[in-house]
């Protein structure tokens, strides 16, 4: 008998080994995956259609809901695209506040990520600590914007308002705290021998493969490919900030996690640079949005991209001169690494690593579904 018996396993949509509402159907031979099929669409809301029925200024209220763990990048991506289309220049302080929010959002998304990957291999303590610490970032967001998760703050034309007095000091204090916590995470997690054994050499992605499959963001950087939208297509205050692109070499699960850990440190550094600049800057002038009720943008098209915590998140906006977008399309980072790349990379892995690979790639299902 040459034919082996295979089993179909459904990972999701109701399964803890899945990053949200998403589904993977894996065909397993013994303990090895031989075929995988990704089934997205559980979070489809038709943003692109809804946007056509909204005004320009109503965009951020919807758009932030595209990727839940990382909503500010969605808002800023849309805002950047609309600003480019309308030819608006955001005041310097507005750009800095925007960058501050983006980096804080990145920190919170990475804390989530650490917990997610650790949870997929059973180290729940990291998730408990990480999400607990993330809440302090949410507190600051609440102080700045009034909301914990969906801030609806980065409008086309600049952030809604200036930082409250003393905000920069609070941010700096939190950064000191997070830096201290990161050392504890190192002990518990990043230097944990079982974690290293589990992650190192698992599902490696080569640089050539990443380039072929248009993988972006930390996943691409973990293979040694130095790309970063913050450098390549600068937005917000990033042209003025001083940072280098961090890369790893191996491109396996371990490199992907460590890549995020390094970027976490870098984000803390960036936030410190921003708060230093914000203190010196005159307060007040942050936003130049025209009167939104009869704001018309001349016909044309523009693309605005941001480096979200998952990769390149871009918005293509088309105007026909009306009060709202004629067409808006989002390019979620997960559309490249969550569908085809995942389907190909998971083949040959053990059942135990189906979830681990998904968490390490940081697939965000609403990115794909929209």
């Amino acid at each position: 008998m040459s034919q082996t018996k295979t089993i179909d396993l459904f990972f999701g949509p109701q399964h803890p080994g899945i990053t949200g509402n998403f589904s993977v159907r894996v065909t397993v031979d013994g303990d090895t995956v031989v075929k995988a099929q990704v089934i997205p669409g559980f979070l489809h809301r038709g943003f692109e259609k809804l946007m056509e029925m909204r005004h320009w200024i109503q965009g951020p209220a919807l758009i932030c809901r595209i990727c839940v763990p990382d909503p500010d990048h969605s808002e800023t991506g849309y805002a950047t695209a609309v600003e480019r289309l309308a030819g608006i220049e955001v005041p310097e302080r507005g750009r800095y506040i925007r960058s501050l929010m983006l980096e804080m959002s990145r920190l919170s998304a990475y804390l989530f990520y650490f917990g997610g990957y650790a949870g997929s291999i059973g180290l729940y303590t990291v998730g408990q600590w990480g999400v607990g610490d993330r809440d302090y970032i949410l507190d600051l967001f609440e102080e700045l914007t009034g909301a914990r998760v969906y801030h609806i703050f980065n409008f086309p034309g600049g952030p809604r308002w200036d930082t409250p007095p003393g905000f920069e000091d609070k941010v700096d204090k939190l950064m000191d705290f997070l830096e201290k916590r990161l050392k504890e995470f190192d002990k518990l997690y990043f230097n944990n021998r079982v974690f290293i054994k589990r992650a190192r050499g698992t599902a490696p992605m080569t640089k050539a493969y990443a380039q072929k499959m248009e993988v972006t963001g930390p996943n691409a950087r973990a293979t040694g490919w130095a790309i970063d939208v913050r450098k390549d297509d600068p937005y917000a205050a990033y042209p003025d900030l001083d940072f280098d692109i961090i890369t790893q070499k191996e491109g396996d699960n371990y490199a992907r996690v460590i890549q995020r850990r390094m970027e976490f440190e870098q984000s803390i550094d960036l936030i410190r640079q921003i708060t230093r600049k914000l203190r010196k800057m005159p307060r007040g002038n942050v936003r130049v949005t025209p009167n939104p009720l009869h704001w018309k943008i001349p016909p044309g098209e523009a693309y605005g991209a941001v480096e979200s915590s998952k990769g390149e998140l871009g918005y293509y906006v088309v105007s026909d001169g009306g009060i709202g977008p004629y067409r808006m399309q989002a390019r979620g980072p997960s559309i490249s690494h969550g569908v085809q790349v995942y389907e190909e990379m998971v083949v040959g892995q053990r059942v135990a690593d189906v979830a681990a690979l998904m968490f390490s790639l940081d697939v965000c299902p609403p990115d794909i579904d929209r």
């Binding site: 949509p13 809301r45 259609k49 999400v131």
Partner: protein
Amino acid sequence: MVDEKEKIVSEDMGVQVDKKEDIEMRSFGTIKRWATKRSLWMVHYCTGCGGIELAPLMTSRYDMERFGMHPMVTPRQSDLLLITGYVNIKTLKRIIRTYEQMPDPKYVVAFGSCPINGGPYWDSHVTINHLDKYLPVDIYIAGCMPRPQSIVKAFDDLMDMIQEGKADGYLRYKKYYDKYKANQEKIFRKWW
């Protein structure tokens, strides 16, 4: 002691309860309901964006496990289904399937504005706007996102309702089963 409230619920709802079970329920109803409310296990299923606020709720800041609640992996083991946010048709099919796999008594908490009336997606072509047309909901939490405090409050209220025997969603589902099924069939072209 005959438990009047439990009796009223089961008779009012017109659900067939066999005699043995009825006696058992009356005699131990209070204790059973107390145990049920103090150990609500929820299905680990993030059906929408509200799932993001469940994480702080489960972890150190708000620590849901204080109330004996924690996520369970499969519907067979769980008592509580959280509909966290908007419901896509594709998801609704899985939600109903999950709900039907859960053993009685089971409770549904709908999270955020979207399952109430559609929220920001009221004109979207794939989100069903009213969840209670397809599933019985025990408690709603308004807001987008509902803050963890309001979620904790909702769980607290749900526990009170269970103790008083008012959380009768699963009984209503049995009573109006035909109507619920008819509604579900109207929007799904085929089941599987």
